[in-house]
Symmetry: C2
Subunit: 154 residues, 2 copies
Amino acid sequence: MKDNNDMPGHLARRFQQIAVAVFLAEVGDAGFDLTPVQYAALATIKANPGLDQVTLAGLIAYDRTTITGVIDRLVQKGLAERRASPRDRRARELEITDEGRRTLRKITPAVESAQRIMLRGLSAKEGEDLMRLLHKAIAAGNELSRAPLREVQA
Amino acid sequence: MKDNNDMPGHLARRFQQIAVAVFLAEVGDAGFDLTPVQYAALATIKANPGLDQVTLAGLIAYDRTTITGVIDRLVQKGLAERRASPRDRRARELEITDEGRRTLRKITPAVESAQRIMLRGLSAKEGEDLMRLLHKAIAAGNELSRAPLREVQA
DNA sequence: GGATATTGCTCAGTATGCTGACTATCAGTA
DNA sequence: TACTGATAGTCAGCATACTGAGCAATATCC
């Protein structure tokens, strides 16, 4: 029987597990309390001011039921705001706060450090290869999860 | 600012997300209700009869607090048994049941199919490269998560 | 215009994963 | 043997992720 450790699914889980641990450790050492998921959401809100929750979910491939709680926590920490959209009363527009902007700016070195650490076993070229292969596999499997990546349409 | 989609941590999350979705879809289509985590635990119990929970957790890099619930569910489904160890009254010995063995056997094609599907965007060589690079990165980061991989000592 | 379908969001429930704390037990040592 | 430390397991609490259901609002079609 094939070993678990030779299955891509198991390796995916392990790598993600390490990536999250490294992120939390680096960001925690820098004095911040932000998860990888919250960071990605906050950075995407900053880059796309006023976007609604479904669009945000699509941009970072989160499930729409997951994003609700993530935003709850960003709002509770004072990093983002959620307000009713004037154009569509079902939707909520998201904005980053000044506090959120400050946090993003100060947290960036720790985030970048975390990305380096999770690839520390690989040479620069190997790191690039890994990223490229992951990209390719993810692109081919994008529609297979409930929360696929969705580009913003023009 | 660097895009989320260029960060290894984000790619790790995406790949894992797709891997789980593919696994559940394939296994579900085959008529079984087993998660990737439960599958790995069950296969490892089968390969190491009588092992205790901490050893099991080490072999598949699960946290010891996570394994409790996973085993609960395997036991509840009748696929595994948990009994007190005669040698160490703190420990629980784990055994696969006949039903568990049958399930593992019948589920194998779906599991293997899932592994193929999650790499479907890659050539055979690219798939091997991805596995090798993940292995290498994981080995270097093994100690960075709370639940590192632990080999069984002789 | 009105029925129908779709969309944005939320909620309840389940399954990982983690932190931190706790109990029971075992191992080593003074 | 009593003390100390380590270990096996569980539990409470929190944060992703998902399924499926539901509500309110918008879009579409006849």
